[in-house]
């Protein structure tokens, strides 16, 4: 394993799940749980003649950020595109259960100690959603994780980090949307139906998935930040994600929970108003939306550095 200092400089986009898991918490604080040595691999893939991984494509464990125990889920896109199968999903759920136990123990020690050492679940997404080889188990896993996120509400934060090669798509796009806070880099991509599937279903005229610039304009970090689907946009380094995570955890829980995009009637109204707006302005491209929200030179946005973009961007009010 590369040393922690070097990991901070490393591109989050290029990093493996294990590098991300180690790098987003404090130095040498990460302990992997249910790791490759435990050989929890998919029982379904061998039946289909497919290769397995001993971690089933997800790194799970616990580390520290300051005084906060941080329960980490980090998906590995290099294994079946980070798709979620039965074991992969069970490991995710297990991490939430550990976080609940830690929460209960800390809560028993009193409110002050709890606030100071409030646990968090952090998910570094890199996935296309359900693993089709074990689709029913994978779907069930999605529902269970959703359930866990709801169980965590009012207790401790669930934070999404999105900036890896595969992005975050399919059912896991819903899961990410259900978290409290989403931190992305501009290389991160977030959506429900993946670009290739949209093209397949709706035709190339509707969405040309090989037009990578179009894909980024529609699902990439900058667009999601303008739309407020993403709460914070950071540079593409593990260190930048860690810094953003650390400063988020310094906020009181109520502040973090305020970043949620779903979960109240007011937020439902806001989403519905947005749907109405889209019918009204009939955007042909994300650039139309950016311009509508006050970004005069919308065409220049993809070429801007993250720093320049953050300095000048106008977001959805």
């Amino acid at each position: 394993m590369t040393d922690w200092q070097a990991l901070q400089q490393k591109s989050f986009y290029e990093a493996t799940a294990r590098e991300r898991a180690n790098g987003i918490v404090d130095a040498a604080s990460f302990t992997e749980l249910a790791g490759p040595r435990d050989r929890m691999s998919s029982p379904h893939l061998p039946a289909l003649g497919e290769a397995i991984e001993f971690d089933d494509g997800v790194v799970t464990g616990v580390g520290r950020v300051g005084k906060h125990p941080v329960f980490v889920i980090s998906q590995e896109g290099r294994f079946i595109g980070g798709a979620v199968g039965e074991v992969h999903g069970a490991k995710m759920v297990g991490i939430f259960q550990l976080a609940q136990q830690a929460y209960a123990q800390l809560a028993a020690k009193g409110a002050d100690s709890l606030a100071e050492r409030l646990p968090a679940v952090v998910i570094s997404f890199e996935t296309g959603g359900v693993r089709l080889h074990e689709a029913n188990a994978g779907l069930l896993a999605h529902a269970e994780v959703m359930d866990q996120i709801q169980n965590a509400r009012g207790k401790f934060p669930v934070i999404a980090l999105i900036g890896s090669k595969i992005g975050c798509f399919g059912g896991m796009g819903f899961v990410a949307a259900a978290t409290d806070l989403i931190i992305m880099s501009e290389l991160g991509r977030l959506g429900l139906t993946g670009p290739e599937v949209i093209e397949q279903e709706m035709g190339r005229e509707e969405f040309n998935a090989s037009d990578k610039a179009l894909v980024y304009r529609t699902t990439g970090g900058k667009h999601k930040y303008i739309m407020r689907d993403c709460n914070q946009l950071v540079e593409d380094s593990i260190g930048a994600f860690r810094t953003a995570l650390a400063s988020a955890l310094q906020q009181p829980y109520a502040e973090i929970a305020r970043c949620r995009r779903i979960g109240s009637e007011a937020l439902v109204d806001e989403q519905l108003a947005l749907a109405e707006l889209s019918c009204e302005i009939q955007p042909q491209d994300a650039r139309d939306v950016w311009a509508y929200f006050g970004n005069a030179d919308a065409a220049a946005i993809p070429e801007q550095t993250t720093a320049d973009f953050l300095r000048t961007v106008r977001r959805r009010p």
Partner: protein, 556 residues
């Protein structure tokens, strides 16, 4: 006895005149023909059995004219003999499906290789031969001269002067062969202008110009996204730079297409710089404008690049670096595949590229039993140019090391081109990169070819580089030794498993086989942090914003 009247010395010319007269009703002002009349024009000028060049280059495609040719009446126009370097569009094969064409002489068929093999089996298509580019161009002037050429240009003026610009490619050689044997030249152009930026083809070599409804299709064939380069490719690239480029001081090179050579290009400003090799290697290239070469150019490594074709998105960058690229008086690049291939054959010290299969003797091929892929230019660059008579140090050194030198020339000094194959012992889907017998042999039987399509013959191959190390094959004294050296680099393939460790140790002692460690390379350093650019966007930054990647590579 032949009478005076029966001898005609200008029958071709008279035939051409008759065809041009038949086309007259469709000609508007000057040489212009409306796109809507293009099919009728083709029916007027084509005769059954004609040799026809339908410009299909490695990159540029006369796609509109290809579509029109597919729509001619097969009762009227049939059994054409297509002579063209590249088969890349569906339409190129549709012609054979419809019975409009029957015979084919070509060089490369990458994207259509599967369908081509299928058509040969089904008897829809008869292959004359699979050529190298230079070989086919040569035959345009001997026995495969096109009667009619259908070519593509960026623009034409009203007289028919053509601008073919960065993607000039095959056009000059096709038009020259056709027109100077009284043939007919029809051009599709993206636009008709008052004045072309420069004259790439003069108007009197052109018979008809048609403004195409769409700009001609062009494939960004040589763009490789650095984000997809693997650590294994970086290791091979480090071995090449240190164990071959630096070892022989190679200054004049061609890089084949692929991620391995892209990795080499992206290591020059980092690893190459670290080894102090700037100015000592890689100064001159015969190469398409590879975007991955930008960092090396910007760091002052590259003095000159001669291009076979253009590359989509590189136009402005190339224009802004006239010291490096070949630029016309108008400021834009001109490529000429025929001349660049000549340069590639005679003026280079090394060819390096990848392949699909290498057999136990060192013959290699990209053909498989069900795909007729052809060669393109690789065999002309991937061979020892036997006519070469100028000396460079790397070329001489390779000749000195040549194990058969004494036997072949009695010890007279003669150099040797380095021909290097980069190979993974196992390729995608775990197919072995080393095999007992090339699929090309079976393909030749299946398709009734007189010659198995071998890309590079063993006697031309000097080096193989795999993750196991480098085999310096040319140093071997005989075939037995050569086969042992191949086994040494063949890893866990069936060929590699036949390795005799003692034999390999002996080869290692003599410098015929070297591992990364032998070369002083730490494999742990072979990772992506060594790349001068890790993604497309960093290439754009290196180019100072001059390179504009096509949409499919604009991944941000």
């Amino acid at each position: 006895m032949i009478t005076e009247e029966s001898v005609s010395w200008d029958s071709l010319l008279q035939d051409t005149r008759a065809r041009l007269a038949a086309a007259a009703p469709y000609v508007q002002a000057g040489k212009q023909v409306a796109a809507a009349d293009a099919v009728k024009l083709l029916e007027a000028v084509l005769r059954p059995g004609d040799k026809v060049n339908l410009e299909g280059d490695n990159q540029k495609q006369a796609d509109f004219l290809a579509g029109c040719l597919c729509r001619v009446d097969p009762a009227q126009v049939h059994d054409l003999h297509m002579v063209q370097s590249v088969l890349s569009l569906d339409r190129h094969l549709d012609l054979f499906d419809k019975g409009i064409a029957k015979k084919l002489d070509f060089s490369f068929s990458g994207p259509q290789a599967g369908r081509l093999a299928e058509y040969v089996r089904a008897g829809k298509l008869e292959i004359g031969a699979i050529h190298t580019y230079l070989e086919l161009y040569g035959r345009y002037f001997i026995d495969l001269t096109p009667r009619v050429a259908l070519v593509a240009a960026y623009s034409a003026d009203r007289n028919g002067n053509l601008y073919t610009g960065a993607n000039t490619e095959d056009t000059p050689v096709i038009v020259e062969a056709t027109k100077f044997k009284q043939g007919i030249v029809i051009v599709q152009v993206n636009e008709i202008v008052d004045q072309v930026p420069r004259v790439d083809i003069p108007a009197d070599w052109v018979d008809f110009i048609i403004q195409s409804p769409q700009p001609f299709y062009i494939e960004p064939l040589f763009t490789r996204d650095p984000a997809l380069i693997t650590d294994a490719q970086i290791l091979r690239a480090m071995m090449v730079i240190k164990g071959i480029y630096a070892e022989y001081g190679l200054q004049r090179l061609n890089h084949g297409i692929g991620f391995d050579t892209a990795a080499i290009e992206l290591l020059l400003p980092t690893y190459g710089e670290e080894l102090g090799l700037k100015g000592k290697i890689c100064s001159y290239f015969a190469l398409n404008p590879h975007p991955t070469l930008i960092p090396a150019i910007e760091s002052g490594w590259v003095r000159s690049v001669c291009c076979f074709g253009g590359e989509v998105g590189m136009e402005e960058y190339v224009k802004a670096r006239p010291d490096v690229f070949f630029i016309g008086p108008d400021g834009t690049m001109r490529s000429n595949r025929c001349l660049a291939q000549t340069a590639g054959h005679y003026a280079l010290d090394i060819f390096i590229g990848g392949t699909l299969q290498i057999d136990r003797y060192g013959n290699s091929s990209t053909a498989t039993a069900t795909r007729i892929a052809g060669f393109g230019g690789a065999p002309n660059m991937g061979c020892d140019a036997r006519g070469r008579r100028h000396a460079t140090s790397g070329w001489l050194r390779c000749g000195e090391e040549y194990g058969l030198q004494q036997e072949m020339t009695g010890g007279l000094p003669r150099g040797k081109r380095l021909v290097v194959q980069l190979q993974e012992t196992f390729r995608e889907k775990m197919t072995p990169g080393f095999v007992e017998e090339l699929d090309a042999v079976q393909l030749a039987k299946n398709a009734g070819l007189a010659l198995p399509p071998v890309m590079i013959y063993s006697d031309d191959l000097t080096h193989i580089v795999t993750e196991e190390g480098i085999a310096y094959l040319h140093k071997c004294a005989d075939m037995q030794e050569r086969m042992a050296a191949i086994r040494a680099v063949a890893g866990y393939t069936d060929i590699g498993l036949q390795e005799d460790p003692q034999e390999t140790a002996a080869l290692r002692k003599r410098g015929i086989f070297k591992t990364a460690e032998d070369l002083g390379i730490d494999p742990a350093r072979a990772n992506r942090s060594l790349l001068a650019a890790k993604n497309m966007r960093e290439l754009v930054h290196w180019s100072k914003g001059l390179y504009t990647p096509p949409a499919r590579f604009h991944n941000w």
